[in-house]
Amino acid sequence: VSVARTEPEYVRAEVQRALAADPMLAELGVEIAVSETAIELRGSVATEERRAHALELVGRLFPDRVVRDALRVPELEAPTESEAVR
């Protein structure tokens, strides 16, 4: 196994590249935390489908690490208030 596949810093970079390159995700804004045994994804993605896809993708890339889900899908409703600018 190459160093690039095991060192947390390189694993983190590889996950970042994979999330950006995946056509369903094109995701640049996910925060990635890597330990010796786990990868945690944090931040927001637009849909539940993308959340599930991101977790599945990372699990497939690094099957030897547990993938933890700290992602959120932001609420998407019309607002109930407004701001007076001037």
């Binding site: 369903m24 407004s82 600018v85």
Partner: protein, 254 residues
């Protein structure tokens, strides 16, 4: 009184279409104008552009937009802009558009903007040609935005961007990536020309409210930040109780 809705970073794909269609439903009743602050698509493909057109077809108020970096990923930004324009969306890039709403003239100058960082921690046009090109692009877009804003002779003037013009709306993002999230050159151009409001997106982990050094309110309307389909901004006094209710006023703030 006029009401302006604004949102950025829809990142629309087939999986998000129904939720967006539902969430944008009330916008034509709640607002007089819709501003889109870039990243309408995930990767800027023609198919995603068609999806955006289908989504916006249901909106019955004028729509002014800028593109974002995701809309350029497939290197078809111009085609995407034309597609949106054919559907009636004014896509701004160093340009402006004006409209009259309830007797108030509104001008919106827009540009995608670009990165480079903020004063004291920013790139400069120095060294390799790639580095010069990076900052020169930001400067060029900032200058175009400034000229477009300066040309506006309207009651309400708004600057519409994708990238952030100030770092105040980036708090929550990692500081290391600030230079990829915006540039002070954009704020400098806006302060030079003047505006009533600046709207941007791009910084998903940032905060909503900031101001330029000259005190112009800056609002980060990236969808993950506002956690709503759009933000509403009111200008002018409500004409009657009904308007006042329609614009449940939140105290002016920076």
């Amino acid at each position: 009184m006029i009401r302006i809705a604004a949102v950025g970073d829809l990142h629309l794909g087939p999986d998000g279409f129904d939720a967006w269609a539902h969430a944008l439903g009330p916008v034509s009743e709640q607002a007089d104008l819709l501003l889109l602050a870039g990243d309408l698509t995930r990767r800027g493909t023609y198919e995603e552009g068609e999806l955006v057109v289908r989504l916006l077809e249901r909106v019955r108020i004028p729509i002014f937009a800028v593109l974002g970096n995701h809309d350029h990923e497939a290197d078809r930004g111009e085609e995407l802009a034309q597609l949106l324009a054919s559907a009636g969306v004014a896509v701004l890039e160093g340009t402006y558009v004006t409209t009259e709403l309830h007797g108030t003239t509104v001008g919106v100058a827009g540009a995608k903007g670009f990165g480079g960082g903020f004063a004291g921690a920013c790139g400069s046009e120095f060294g390799e040609r790639e580095m010069k090109a990076f900052i020169a692009h930001t400067r060029d877009r900032a200058d175009a935005l400034g000229r477009a804003l300066a040309a506006l002779d309207c009651d309400v003037r708004i600057a519409l961007l994708h990238y952030a013009p100030v770092d105040a709306t980036l708090h929550g993002e990692r500081r290391e990536i600030y230079p990829f999230l915006g540039s002070y050159l954009l704020a400098e151009a806006i302060d030079g020309a003047g505006a009533d409001l600046v709207v941007h997106g791009h910084a998903h982990a940032g905060v909503e409210k900031g101001a330029t050094p000259a005190g112009i309110p800056v609002r980060n309307v990236a969808q993950p930040v506002i956690r709503a389909a759009y933000r509403l901004f009111c200008f002018g006094e409500p004409a009657d109780a009904r308007e006042a209710e329609a614009c449940a006023l939140v105290a002016p703030s920076r």
